[in-house]
Symmetry: none
Subunit: 421 residues, 2 copies
């Protein structure tokens, strides 16, 4: 079954609000085995809506429409839907009772404008709105199902989960879609692609699709397959993951399970620190507190996090973290010597047993002879073991800060797990 999402409303087209309804509906439909093949947003204009309905009908078996059902004058969806289905609006007595009740309950009289909410296209199946006044409407034309819903997220969500998806499951046999996403760090999209190219070539014949989802500091690799037997799909995908593991093991920092949120690096590291009864301390120069922010954005992080020092000038690397002034003159603040001292000293100051120290040139200025913008030294320590490494990221300040944080957390994660760096 192919679905299409159509959003009606000027507020999306002027960029005032983000289309979160479509993201949510796409997730729900995909989980129910229904492919979303197209999404569009059009203005509150008759011609634009009519064209969008007709185009959607040509492509999809199911069209979910949101927005434009409010009682105010700029909302014309309902009238336009009537034109499209060549029908007229009639009062639905059940909805009228709902709407009247909605106002009575709040101690208010129902107005003529609100009574119009009870008008629905003749011939439509009404989906009652338990969270608001505008009903949903289910109609069919040329083998395509159209459902029009209000744009208010929690009103729409109740209709989708409580009526639309159960109804579709009653009428159609829907396949399962299984996704598994491998989270990688420390390798770019194109290098990863070359590394797994042979394996990737074998997937299509097994009806598995592979997608690369890059974001700064990481690439997510998503395997998907569709079928009628959930267990078989699961085994097929897990089997393929096992095959490619030996090749990319050193880049994998986690997995995203089907139907669950993507686990962030700071959550994966936090869990590991807690399980191993470790106490983390940070010394951040170029990242300026960003790693500390990520770590503490996880609820419960005080169980494994002791604190951070951000010495944003060399004199405080000296006074607070005992980096000798000789280091700055001989090697510079962006050096192995500097981060190694920082990591040892911060572990001492915060009485911890796991630590990260970073020093780099985030940019745009600060480059020196032999050290371009993006040059970064990272040291991680676990009890008496210390590893340090130099990286050259890029030109963009925000991206350098983010990449340094991701890489540093992953280095510590690997050190704890004794994985190859």
């Amino acid at each position: 079954m192919k679905a299409e999402l159509l959003t009606i409303g000027n507020e999306i087209l002027i960029g005032q609000i983000s289309n979160t309804n479509s993201v949510w509906m796409a997730q729900q439909l995909n989980e129910a085995g229904i492919s979303v093949i197209h999404m569009s947003s059009v203005a509150d204009e008759k011609e634009a809506i009519l064209t969008a309905l007709a185009d959607a009908g040509k492509r999809a078996d199911l069209v979910l429409i949101t927005g434009g059902l409010g009682p105010t004058k700029d909302d014309i969806t309902k009238k336009t839907v009537c034109d499209y289905f060549d029908t007229e609006l009639i009062i639905n007595e059940d909805v009228l009772k709902d709407v009247t009740g909605f106002f009575t309950k709040r101690g208010r009289e129902i107005t003529d404008i609100n009574k119009k909410q009870a008008e629905v296209p003749k011939g439509s199946i009404v989906i009652r709105n338990k969270n608001g006044t505008a009903p949903g409407m289910w109609m069919e034309k040329d083998d395509t199902i159209y459902v029009s819903m209000p744009g208010v997220p929690f009103e729409m969500k109740a209709m989708v989960t409580e009526f639309i998806i159960p109804e579709l499951k009653k009428c159609f046999i829907l396949p399962f879609i299984y996704h598994k996403t491998i989270l990688t760090q420390g390798i770019g999209e194109s290098d990863l692609s070359e590394l797994i190219s042979d394996w990737e070539d074998t997937l299509a014949s097994k009806n598995i699709s592979l997608a690369y989802l890059p974001s700064p500091g990481m690439v997510r690799l998503r395997l998907s397959s569709k079928g009628l037997n959930e267990k078989e799909l699961n085994q097929k995908i897990e089997g393929e993951v096992q095959k490619i593991l030996p090749v990319i093991q050193k880049y994998i920092y986690g997995y995203e399970e089907y139907g669950k949120d993507q686990p962030a690096m700071e959550e994966i590291l936090g869990k590991l620190l807690k399980e191993n009864n470790l106490k983390l301390c940070l010394a951040e120069s170029c990242t300026g507190g960003y790693i500390s922010h990520l770590i503490t954005s996880v609820a419960g992080s005080s169980a494994y996090y002791n604190g951070c020092i951000v010495p944003y000038q060399n004199e405080f690397k000296n006074s607070l973290l005992k980096v000798n002034n000789e280091v700055f003159t001989k090697h510079g603040a962006v050096s192995k010597e500097c981060v190694e001292t920082m990591v040892k000293e911060v572990m001492h100051s915060f009485n911890g047993n796991a630590a990260i120290a970073v020093s780099g040139i985030a940019g745009p200025s600060g480059a020196t002879e032999g050290k371009p913008v993006g040059t970064t030294w990272i040291a991680v320590a676990l009890n008496d073991t210390l590893i340090s490494k130099q990286f050259i990221f890029g030109d963009n300040r925000q991206r350098n800060i983010h990449m340094t944080a991701m890489r540093a957390m992953n280095m510590l994660r690997k050190l704890i797990l004794k994985e190859e760096e």
Copy 2:
């Protein structure tokens, strides 16, 4: 001029990522006087892309396409665009230099797959990508301009602001839309709305629209008007701003000028610190380094920022910032006494003359008798002057961290400017 946004990629259709690119592009185009009439998202499939390109061309004068330009096998946009324009891919030598340079700079060899990034449709105008490897491509067909860009937000954004919008302004007369946005902090949307209600009622007759743009910790108030005379629009809007100033002065921390990015609180504060030759130091408990991260996300912040201590356990508030253990037993770590000592001591440790200290219960756990989640103490200091204040924010951890940071930076800003708190 009518524009349409087309996003290519399965990750949007399966609800894996939110389409933030379209929100941003819609804002930019609207501000430039270009109406966005349609947005759509289609899969990485040849037929779907071809149909979408043709449909868009019928409706719009400008089609901005994002996504599908990566070097990997699932990205087919470039080939399909060639089919649509009946042309072929050729190597662009400038782009090849860019791509080669991108890898050389990172000490890596360019691979064959990456060389493909330098292929562009013959006849297209190339938009070089200074933040990545995939170039943008500008093409025209039947009076419609099509621009294809990579989907990585910061690569796309640089192309839109630095090339596409300036180029369109050169070629077309676009109506002038004048916006002025007042940035407020410390008052909620509904209270603000009551405060300015009389003034707001007078705006419609002057063809000025007012929008409330709330985000955690602040409300932006945007006045807009459209016309062909830039000077007239400017005077009209500035006149209205002057009228409402006396009523909301104490909540205003800045303005967003037409066509410029919203100045962040950390930029406004940073500028002020620099102008007054001040050196900032931070002691962050509940915000866990977030304020330090915001301050250092501004390029050039090392001119006015000395550093930060994040003492995430009480023992380090004691050992590093000399908060007496008696304070914890008598008043708790979330107290006036605690933050006042922290702010004085951190100023001393980092040898600065401006400082912020915060301690609070970010949640979800940590509430105590009389101190619900959200309770936060903030102290700010400037030379020998110190102000501290208690706030009770909300239940949400991320929001509490953000609100504390905004409020704390604004308190210091007001102290420097001797404004009423």
